[in-house]
Amino acid sequence: MAEPPLLRVSDVTVRFGGLTALDRVSFTAGHGEVLGVIGPNGAGKTTLFNVVCGFQQAQEGSLRWRGQVLRGHSPHRLAALGITRTLQGLGLFGHCTVLDNVMIGADRHARTGGLAGFFGLRRTAREDRALRERAMAVLADLGIDGHRDALPGALPYGLAKRVALARALVAEPDLLLLDEPAGGLSEQDMEDLGSRVRHLAESMAVVLVEHHMDLVMKVCDRVVVLDFGRVIADGTPAQVQADPAVTEAYLGAVPRA
C-alpha cells in the first residue's frame, strides 16, 4: 500500500454563526509537491489555514498528518509535528533582532529544559550556539545574513518578508504553509520567491495561498480553488485554468448568448 499523503484534509466544515466559511473541504498535500490554494476574497483560504494550524477548530471533518488523525490540535504543537507557517503580512518579533527572530523559529531543535536555563549550564550555551548556527545558515541561504543584528522594522519589506520565511524554514518543516508570501513584493523578489519555492519542494511539501495568479500557475503542481467555502476545482494549473467553474467564480457567470 502506498504511503499516506503528509496532510489529508477530509470534509472539513467551519461555520461562524449562520455563515459557512468552509463546507466539506477535502484535499491532500504530499511530499515534494507545491499545492496552491486560490479563490476570490472571502472564499475561506485563511480559515482553511487556521484550521490546519489549530487556531480554528473544525465543526466537522478531520485532519490527518502522516495518516494519524490530529486530535486536540493546537498551534504550539505544529512546529514539533514538522509544520510551519508564514503569516499574511510579517508577524515578526519587532523588538528582537533578525537573528533572534530566526533563532526562535529554530526552537523546536532545542532540548534543554527551563531549569538548565536558570543555571546557564555549558550545555545550554552549546545548544544556543547550535541554534545560532542553524539560524545563520538559513539567513545566509536567503542572502540576508548581513542584516542579522537589524530589527525587522528597519528592513525594507521584501527583506523582512524573507526573514519571516527564514524563521519558518529554520525549523526544517516537512510541510510549509505560506499565507500570501508574495504580498507586497517587487517583480524581482517574486521571481526569486517562485524559484525558491520550487527548490524547497524538493525536501518538503509546500501549500501556498496566493493572489498573484501568474506565480501560482508557474510554481504549483496542483491548485485547489475555493469559492464560498467549497472546493470547486482541484487539478493541475492547466486544468484549473480551463475549468469554466473557476472562471465563473472569479468573473461571475458568463451570460449565455
Binding site: 508577524g91 515578526l92 528582537c96 537573528l99 546557564g120 544556543d128 542584516h147 525549523a171
Partner: protein
Amino acid sequence: MAADTVIAPAPPAPVTSRAGLSPLARHLLLAVLALAAIVLLSMVVDPFTNVRLATVGYYLLAVAGLTVLTGLTGQVSLGHGAFMFVGAYTVALLVVYVPALPFWVDLLLAAVASGLAGALTGAAAARLTGPYLAGATLALAVGLPSVTQRFPDFLGGSNGLGFTVNSMPAGLAGTVPSTRWQAWVVWAVVLAALVLLANLTRGRVGRRLRAVRDDEVSAALAGIHVGRMKVFAFLVSAVCAGLAGGLQAFLLGTAAPGSFTPALSLSLLAAMVLGGVGSLWGALWGALALVFLQAGSEELTHALALGTDVSNNLPLAIYGLVLIGVVLAFPQGIHGIGRTLRTRLRPRRTPARTSADDEGEA
C-alpha cells in the same frame, strides 16, 4: 538602513560566544565582584547608610522581577507589592511561629509561597491583557494587605508582626555591626537570584519570553506554549518580589500592611520604567533612584524647613518629575542613556552589531 547595505550586505561577523566562559560562570563572576564591592562599601559607610544599601538590594530584586514580567513578556502588573507582602508575611510568620527554622529556610519558603501566589495570578492573568490585567493585579495590591485586618490575632492587624532574626553566625557577633551583616545577607541573596535571572533572560527562555511579548500568534507557530510562558513569567517575577519582601521583613524586623500599599506597587513599576524597561541593569538604576531620590529629596525638604504639607509630598513630586524628565529625554530609561552615549561616541564601525551587543547585556 542605507540603500548600499541592502544591495551589498556586509560580510557576516563570525559566530562566536564571548570568552570561553559559560553564562553561569560569567554571571557568577560578576556577582562575586559585586558582592565584594558591597562588602567593602558596607565597611566604610555608617549603619544608617548600610540599611539604605540593603534597601536598594531588595528593591533591585523586586524591580528585576517586574522587568522579567513586563519587560520580557509585556504583562503589566500593578500588584507586585502584593507578592512582596506574601514574602514578608511568610518570613514573619515562620520566624514567629517556627523559630527553630534557620533563616535561609524561611526565605526559601517565602519564595515558594509567593511563587504559588504568582502562578495562580499568572493563570488568571494569561487570559487578560493590557488594562484588564493591570486592573486585576491592582485589585490584588489593594485587597491582599487588608487580609491582616481580617485575622488580627494571627497576622497582627494593622500593626503587623514584629520579630528579630538571629541570623548572624556566633563568630561574627560583636565584631560586625548588625546592619552591616544585614546588608551582606540581603545582597548575597539578591545577587544569587540575579545570577539565575540573568542566565534565564540571556538564553533561550528569554528569547521565548520576548517572542510572546512581540507576537503571540507567531510565537505559538514557533512551538511556544504562549499561556504557559506567561504563567512562568508571572511565577518567576512573583518569586523575586516575594524574596524581596522576605528580605525587607528581615531587614526591618517587622511585616506590616502599611509597607505594602498600592503606592509601593506603583513605585516599583515607575522604578522599572525609570531605569529602563527590559534590562536587568535598568532594575539597578531604578532601585537606586527609588531609594536615593526619595532619601535625597527628604533631606532637601528637611533642610528647607518647609511645612509638613509640602515636605510630605515634595519627595513624591520630585520622583515624578525625574521620571517624566527621563522618559521624555530617554524613552529607554536611565540604562538607555548609557547606550545612547556609547553608540554616539563609538566610531560607526558596525552600528547594527553594537546595538545588539548592548541588548545582550540585559
